[in-house]
């Protein structure tokens, strides 16, 4: 029998990618976010945004190409922190909100990396920003620091922290 250590040991099929993406993006808190969206366009990045809705524009990492319903107008990006992506979103879509929900871009980050990414979002998008964070997926010493301490230490000004329970938080910025 083959022993495997990581995802590097095999190639994912399209069906496997679909199952994996679906498992990573459940819809449990989608309504909680959509009810807070201001009028206007909302850009969802790596967040399984419902691109069939007229107010939602979904951007997904290009590694997931091929797993979405081809009728959905999904857009793809290569680098999350690319100035080209940021510029295109701000110039051509002019969103009133940007949403990060169950995004891989915000998983397995150290608190320092998480803080950097939150600041990057604030600096990049002059809009309302929603960032969902599952603290179970953040990388820090969990015997030493409480989740409350970490989440409070990474947020920027103008942020409301919504406690969604079970170690999950929704940051509402601006």
């Amino acid at each position: 029998m083959k022993i495997i250590e990581s995802y590097k040991d095999f190639e994912l099929t399209i069906e496997s990618k679909k199952a994996l993406y679906s498992a990573m993006h459940d819809k449990a808190y989608v309504d909680n976010i959509t009810k807070r969206l201001p009028a206007g366009k909302s850009v969802w990045i790596d967040s399984n945004g419902d691109a069939m809705k007229s107010n939602i524009v979904a951007f997904e990492n290009e590694k997931w190409k091929g797993i979405f319903d081809p009728r959905k107008p999904v857009k793809y990006y290569k680098f999350f922190n690319s100035p080209t992506l940021v510029g295109a979103i701000n110039k051509y879509i002019k969103p009133t909100s940007v949403v990060i929900y169950q995004s891989e871009e915000f998983k397995y980050l150290t608190p320092e990396e998480l803080q950097y990414k939150i600041e990057f979002m604030v600096d990049s998008y002059p809009t309302k920003i929603f960032i969902y964070i599952d603290m179970l997926g953040i990388d820090f010493n969990k015997l030493k620091y409480s989740y409350t301490h970490i989440i409070e230490s990474v947020v920027t000004q103008n942020t409301i922290i919504h406690d969604l329970k079970d170690f999950k938080y929704l940051l509402e910025i601006n």
């Binding site: 029998m1 083959k2 022993i3 495997i4 095999f10 994996l20 969990k142 015997l143 409480s146």
Partner: protein, 185 residues
């Protein structure tokens, strides 16, 4: 004595009967079992996760007292989940649902005298209600020190993935493992 242990020991004030019921309990849930199966199904051939193989290699045929997310192992190992844990020579504890430091301590206490123990921990799902200044900064080392307080004077082989992120099936089967034996063995 490790300071954290003292703090944790002092916290709960359960009636004795409840204390006994609460000990030796590490939770699991159906999602873990399903996710383990699902991730293995991504590979077209039959595979074993490296961390599971280490567990299979560690134990012998004698009965193994099992607690936590052990659902994958009955049928592959001689796992027993009932009766008095003290009557066993081998134990397997898999911690893979959100578990506080206090719950972890109590969960492992009942198997601390067993000769041969594997504790497998998803280090992402632990939590503590308040900051603990006395804990070592390096999380992997802190975990080892924590396990040492529960299993003092034992030989502990500590296996973990340095810089663990999302690539190693840790949420299906934890990659941080402690293989605990008596020093004389």
């Amino acid at each position: 004595m490790y300071r954290l242990t003292g703090e944790m020991m002092a916290k709960p004030k359960f009636p004795k009967s409840l204390e006994e019921k609460n000990s030796c309990r590490i939770r699991s849930n159906a999602f873990i079992t399903a996710w383990h199966k699902k991730q293995k199904s991504f590979v077209p051939e039959e595979v074993e996760f490296a961390q599971d193989q280490r567990i299979l290699d560690f134990f012998d045929d004698r009965p193994i007292y099992g607690i936590g997310a052990i659902e994958y192992f009955p049928g592959k190992l001689n796992i027993i989940t009932e009766d008095d844990p003290q009557s066993y020579k081998q134990a397997l504890a898999i911690v893979n649902v959100p578990t506080s430091d206090l719950e972890l301590f109590h969960g492992l206490e009942c198997i601390k005298h067993i000769d041969k123990v594997c504790v497998s921990v998803n280090k992402y799902i632990l939590w503590t209600p308040s900051n603990k200044d006395s804990i070592t900064e390096d999380y992997d080392i802190a975990l080892l020190e924590y396990i040492k307080t529960i299993f003092p004077n034992r030989h502990i082989e500590h296996i973990y993935v340095k810089g663990l992120k999302g690539q190693h099936f840790n949420f299906a089967s934890p990659t941080t493992q402690f293989f605990i034996t008596n020093e004389n063995n």
